[in-house]
Amino acid sequence: MISFAIFFFFAAIAVIFAAMVVLHRNPVVGALSLVASFFALAVMYVLLEAPFLAALQVIVYAGAIMVLFLFVIMLLNLQHQEEPRTRPVQQFLGYTTSAAFGLALIYYLAKFGVTKLPEGAFISDARTVGIKMFEAYIFPFEMVSILLLAAIVGALLLSGRTGVAKDEETS
């Protein structure tokens, strides 16, 4: 009973703040609304019996990625840039196609909904996830670490601060 109330409350929060990301002009407000939306999604993960992933969602997404977004927005001082108005034709087409797509998706998901869950609790703590990761998914794990290294090198190179002496225009 109370889990239904929690579900509806946090689902409403997630949807409302996600809509604010799309609709509000100011990117700082958009970034902070996205943080609130991610928090609501973390609560959804707890309702889905995956508390480990809920903590990871807050640590990685809301706590690191969005901080990076906020840094970029604030350092480039983007909220004073006037975003040009989207042409009405593009707005209309964008809203209608995405609404049609969304409605079709929701219709089919609601039609083929499954309500029967297996018995027993869902063992999803850190130990189980860790064992599965280091047994079955060890190769993707190592690949992801190399990918993160590539991303770090790429980000350093693109921002122009590799420590090699460069001319002034790329500072």
Binding site: L32, F52, L56, I59, A62, G63, M74
Partner: protein, 356 residues
Amino acid sequence: MHGIDWVDVGLSGLKIAVVLGAMLNVTPIMVWVERRGSALIQDRPGPNRVGPFGLFQSFADALKFILKEDMLPAKANKVLYTIAPMFGLIPALTTIAVVPWGRPFLLPGGRLFEPIIANVNIGILLIFALASMGVYGIVMAGWASANKYSLFGGIRASAQMISYELSLTLAAVSALMVAGSLSLPDVVWRQTGSFVLFNVVKLPAWNIFSPAMWIAFVVFFVSAFAETNRLPFDFAEAEAELVAGYHTEYSSMKFALFFMSEYMAMATMSALITTLFLGGWDIPWYNEPPNALGFALSVLAFTVKVSALLFIFVWVRWTIPRLKYDLLMKLGWKVFLPLAVINIVIVALFIAKRWI
């Protein structure tokens, strides 16, 4: 849903009241300790007018904060300016919910009373998750103040906090590896008991006495200073450099909230250090019985350890000078992060060879 267990609800409410009361009282006590302690170190009297030994200085400060004019800078973003202090306070107050502060004991009715508000099995991840929320308070405070220097202070402080969060997390992993669990009561239970060194001396089985954890302890301790923005890492405030950093434009209750959240974060970090490395509520060389006496003694032991660490926070503030910002960032990324990772390897070696 059948009948609610009202005794359980009542006990939880009692636990929340006790912990909340303790956390809210940390600030006035620490204000006094800080001012008298720093005066002691700097060879001057300190506040001694308001009450005996200046003990009522905190009341005078609180009254000043309440009565000051609450202002809003003209160009500031009103909503963000107002909610930024809350983002600083929420992690400070909620992360203490997963720290065990006493020995679980049996109540007369046979029920086990666990002195921890939320015994979730992902305990310490909750602390890290909520601590990363604290960065938003600083960033928003610096940006919403519409003041260049506040923005600089805010960005520098938040960059420092997210850099040292990494070494904090990895250094804590070594204590978690030994305990084999993410929940803090398990970490403390692992540190009860004792082990015999060289067949001669019997040491309590605290994590700090095992050589595998020494590097982790140092890294965690220093990163705790960086996380709570205390000297030698206090670029957020940086008196004499940035006026008051990200909370320059704040006055009265909003400033008091930042002030409080800093001391509460210090208390939470000290509680975390004692839980992970100093044995939590464990009394050395004594087997606490599972009754009210054992519980009271364990709470006393926990309080003594946390208080000692809080005094060390004050002591270090007036002993070590502030680092230059780029040196600080280099230290965080190039020294502490590799050390924390090396420590994980060392602890893994110790566990594999069953030396720990």
